[in-house]
Symmetry: C2
Subunit: 156 residues, 2 copies
Amino acid sequence: MVRMDAEAAGLLKKLVLGERLAHLATLRGGAPMASMTLFLAEQDFSAFYVHVSRLAWHTQDMQQDPRVALSISETDDRRPDPFTLMRVTLRGSSSEVTDENGELQRNWLARFPEQAVNFTLADFSFWRIAPRDARFVAGFGRIHNLSARQLRQAAA
Amino acid sequence: MVRMDAEAAGLLKKLVLGERLAHLATLRGGAPMASMTLFLAEQDFSAFYVHVSRLAWHTQDMQQDPRVALSISETDDRRPDPFTLMRVTLRGSSSEVTDENGELQRNWLARFPEQAVNFTLADFSFWRIAPRDARFVAGFGRIHNLSARQLRQAAA
């Protein structure tokens, strides 16, 4: 494990704020499942949100078992070696949340304006993922295992 | 579930052959884990290969429990609504394989020429993922649940 310096923290922040897609791993019948989702990070990286339909498998899975992982990678820019792309995995616990004051919806729509239609559907709701830890690969062999606290420090 | 027609099959083929990144979901201490990996599909989609280090968490996980899921999504082209990006999840079983005649290595290097260095490292090996089923989302609401047989038909 490499110590998280200011440069690495900056790279992690760029990755999390710049990317729009994540792959959400859940437990399905005791086996691993993963599927693409859109995500939004809390400003201090203390939480990550997904806006999902009750009809989606990952939502059904989270209802059964809150444990999840969220895997985010840098967009493939067709560089010769895609193994050097940055990626991070957050492991944590998920729970459905009520968007009391509509703040989540506003932030979500600021990021995904075309997703407005999903807020008119009764089966969509926000789920909050509270990360327990993170594993950040800043490139080949540059692996950072981070606690939730160290993850928040990267957001600062 | 929408019937898999020739158009959908063509889209799935384009997705699997065109993308280079996947997110591999494994079980880690009974909880879901996911991490980015490169992948190579067998020509008839009967198997998917990853070339991984024994030092990597996902490899340790597969050694403990062969069940995996592989989630592949279309590269984010910064379209207004990324929820319309195509994605597929393959669920199946993984096993370490010996590359007897070097065919896998040749195919891997044809796809990832810069990965040659990993074949000089003793801790890297190929793992084969045999898909049991697949869930292909060709766009909002266009979901195809496929058997391994239907997945092979898409490759034809």
